[in-house]
């Protein structure tokens, strides 16, 4: 059982002052083993805050991040799954499933996590699964209207992943879950 927090597009402080209080009260240290962040934090304070939640922090660079040294893409293996991370502003058309699928095949990962659209989505295609955790702060976006703050927590357990989707809708936290599994174990092509 490995818990992986996926979030991003916070745009703090430019478009949002902070994460919603109801999210912050749930995100406590000691529960999460890895954090993957799609980028656009944008400042160091957010980086430091995330580090307090979990020391294993992975960030891909968003176009507004002050830190220029975050990588454009990142891959990591957690249990039986290979995960890929990319902010997504580089993939055009933005949010297009086919283009993202191509990136996924390039990175050769089971789960691709990207952001930029500020809208939660979770798609499956023949190359794997693409997840967009949305914007954890509900920051506005030129692509999406009415952004509800959202983030994702993945429970990776063997060949199965349960994706918990946390959304703040009308001031209340709503949680959904998505369940999927791999049928074959990861080949270790290091």
């Amino acid at each position: 059982m490995v818990l992986v927090l996926a979030l991003g597009d916070l745009h703090i402080p430019h478009r949002a002052p902070d994460l919603p209080a109801k999210f912050k009260s749930m995100l406590v240290p000691g529960k999460i083993q890895h954090i993957i962040c799609t980028g656009n934090l944008c400042i160091k304070e957010v980086h430091d805050y995330l580090k307090t939640l979990c020391p294993d922090l992975h960030i891909a660079r968003g176009e507004y991040d002050e830190e220029t040294r975050y990588p454009e893409t990142k891959t990591l293996t957690i249990g039986q799954f290979k995960l890929g991370l990319c902010h997504g502003h580089q993939v055009i058309p933005w949010g297009d499933l086919d283009s993202l699928a191509m990136l996924q095949r390039q990175l050769d990962v089971d789960i691709l996590v990207t952001g930029h659209t500020h809208q939660f989505t979770a798609y499956k295609h023949e190359g794997g699964v693409v997840i967009n955790p949305g914007s954890a702060s509900g920051a506005f976006s030129s692509i999406t209207y009415d952004v509800n703050p959202s983030f994702v927590l993945m429970d990776i357990d063997g060949l199965r992943v349960v994706v918990y989707v946390y959304e703040l809708i009308d001031g209340e936290v709503k949680v959904d879950k998505i369940d999927f599994k791999k049928t074959t174990a990861a080949h270790s092509a290091h």
């Binding site: 995100l27 000691g30 529960k31 989505t121 499956k124 023949e126 349960v162 949680v175 999927f180």
Partner: protein
């Protein structure tokens, strides 16, 4: 005592095995099953629990590498069914509440008998043992929310688990974890009040037991008692706390501990606590001349690092002690 015999003897003495041999197999099967069920209920990760709840996975029409493309289906869940839930009834919340306990247990297990390959080191052998002991201690903590886990319980478990695991009977050795759990609970139930801080000053607490040790010493050797209590002010709180709560597991080497526990568990005329106090008293008597010539510092140092002695002699002295102080007083007035 041969390895197989000791394990069975302890099980009998602790009341785990009934006196009638015919009933042994039935009891063992039942108890081992109970343990397995407990583990399933309480030690399973929330991940596995939710997997079981869902049952024949209706979601499994979503193999990630299947051909069907499209959005993944979302299912609404309750406030408690997710990992970040703060709800008291949430299995996730309860799971995380115990991580601190689990971490403490892990730390203590790492330090248990570092000189013994059975417990310590990186071999899969010792790791398996630590895993088993961890399960036992964690289960105990969950079932006893008032006491939970207290540092030192790992030391009380160690001899039991070792003896049962090294049983020459394969079936028994394979079920050492389940048997150890039950016997650990039985052994601890006798001294559990000592672990509860709130009971320290009560009639059943550790301080009361320590004063009984004083009384026992006074009844059997007033000279030594006087020298310790008054002349050098070496009170039992300073040295015997650990002797009593940890059932002497910290004072002697492992083989000696097992020999001492043989006597502790099998004493026919008194309770375990009474026998324990007698052994503690004997420990003092066996060092009488050194203690009489020592001051506070020397005596404390000696008692907190009890020297090697002949265990059979120690146990004989313990057995010969007068247990009831009032009988002593009675004979004086006659």
């Amino acid at each position: 005592m041969g390895d197989g015999l000791r394990a069975t003897a302890w099980k009998l003495l602790l009341g785990y095995l009934p006196p009638s041999r015919d009933l042994w197999e039935k009891e063992l099967i039942e108890n081992r099953l109970k343990y397995a069920k407990l583990k399933e209920e309480l030690l399973v990760s929330p991940s596995q629990l939710t997997r079981k709840k869902v049952g024949a996975l209706s979601y499994c029409d979503h193999p990630a590498d299947g051909v069907v493309a499209g959005p993944l289906k979302r299912h609404e869940i309750s406030e408690e069914d997710h990992p970040l839930s703060l709800g008291k009834a949430s299995v996730w919340h309860q799971y995380f509440q115990h991580t601190e306990t689990a971490e403490q247990i892990d730390r203590d297990l790492q330090r248990t008998h570092p000189d013994l390959k059975f417990f310590s080191g990186d071999s899969s052998f010792s790791r398996k043992h630590r895993e088993s002991m961890r399960s036992i201690l964690l289960l105990f903590a969950k079932l006893n929310p008032v006491i939970r886990y207290v540092q030192g319980m790992n030391e009380v478990l160690a001899p039991i688990y070792y003896v049962f695991s090294t049983d020459t009977n394969e079936q028994n050795a394979a079920n050492a974890e389940a048997d150890s759990f039950s016997c650990f609970v039985r052994l601890l139930s006798d001294s559990v009040d000592h672990f509860c801080e709130q009971l320290d000053n009560s009639a059943v607490g550790i301080l009361s037991t320590l004063s009984r040790l004083s009384e026992l010493l006074k009844a059997n050797d007033e000279e030594l008692w006087r020298h310790l209590e008054f002349t050098t002010k070496v009170k039992p709180q300073y040295y015997a706390f650990r002797w009593i709560t940890l059932l002497l597991t910290q004072e002697f080497n492992f083989q000696c501990i097992m020999r001492i526990w043989d006597s502790l568990l099998s004493s026919p005329y008194e309770t375990l606590q009474d026998m324990l106090l007698k052994i503690c008293c004997a420990m003092l008597l066996c060092l009488k001349s050194r203690l009489l010539s020592g001051d506070f510092v020397a005596n404390l140092k000696l008692l907190q690092n009890y020297p090697d002695i002949n265990i059979e002699h120690l146990l004989q002295v313990a057995r010969d002690l007068s247990s009831d102080p009032s009988t002593y007083r009675l004979s004086l007035t006659l």
